[in-house]
């Protein structure tokens, strides 16, 4: 299991990167993160929504109501321009941390 603090810190870059591929909705975002991390990165489902709403208030993402193929109502989120910039910054910072860690490990 990954530590709580790291899960919280990685939520925004992960959401941004997922939405950069295509628009998505809460349930699918959680499922995809879970699948990509082999179930090791697990969020409390309800906690995703305050994060999404905060990102929307900050102008990083936008939302629209839509319907699934089966007619189920869904709220879809997609990336805005500021979100792309924020994502680039996140990637830069996380890569830096990763390369420092990897470098130290090799020594």
């Amino acid at each position: 299991m990954i530590r709580k603090e790291l899960v919280a810190a990685s939520a925004e870059p992960l959401i941004l990167s997922l939405l950069a591929k295509d628009e998505s909705y809460g349930y699918a975002i959680i499922q995809e993160v879970k699948a990509r991390s082999d179930g090791k990165l697990e969020w409390t489902d309800g906690m995703l929504y305050p994060v999404l709403h905060r990102m929307e208030h900050r102008g990083l993402i936008k939302s629209r109501w839509g319907e699934s193929e089966t007619g189920r109502k869904r709220k879809y989120y997609s990336l805005k321009k500021d979100g792309k910039t924020a994502m680039a910054t996140h990637h830069e910072q996380w890569s830096l941390v990763h390369s420092v860690l990897a470098g130290l490990r090799k020594e």
Binding site: Y27, M47, R72, K73, R74
Partner: protein, 222 residues
Amino acid sequence: MFDLEQSIADWRRQMLAAGIKTPVPLEELEIHLREDIAQQMKTGSNQQDAFTSAVQKLGSAHTVQTEFMKVDKTHSALKWKLMEIGLTLATILVPLLFGGIVLKRASFIDMTVAEELSSLAALAAFSLLAWSGRLGHRLLPVIQNKRIRDAIRFSCCVPLPLWWIVFLNFIVPRHDFTMGEFLVAFTWAFFTPVGACIGLNWGIETAARKEIERPDVSASQS
């Protein structure tokens, strides 16, 4: 016999009781809950187990609501910051603009120096009253209840236009003002009460917000 709709209705009531707002975000959470139940049932869970597990995964109403409150707070802090910038600009630019007009037009409408100074003093009083509230917020009571603060704002704003109507319709016609005298009376009657009103509300709002910010230093997460 387990009744899914009844259980979801009970869950909704619990969420509402914890303060989760409807329709958004409660509706969004309910959609998530239903989606999770449907997915679990597809993989063989029975309705009751799927419901229990989905509710558990969603987290307690209280924890989710605490997170949503943080979002509201950041949002309202941002709005308040913009409001403060607006108020700062208004309390500086309005007196400068109007003061400029008074100085420029003084000779056209035969204003005496005393009238000119009095008009400018009224404009200065407007800014000073507004800023004294902002800077002296420590002297004002801390009112945490937003409704009471809104009520104070409302009770300040409503009498202002009434007073202006009285001033223009009843006071001005009873006096044979020269243009200069009228301008003096006008600046005192219009700007000073507005300044006092802005000051009082600016101060009360600042006092309440500083009090909210204080115990919450560790909770900044964005």
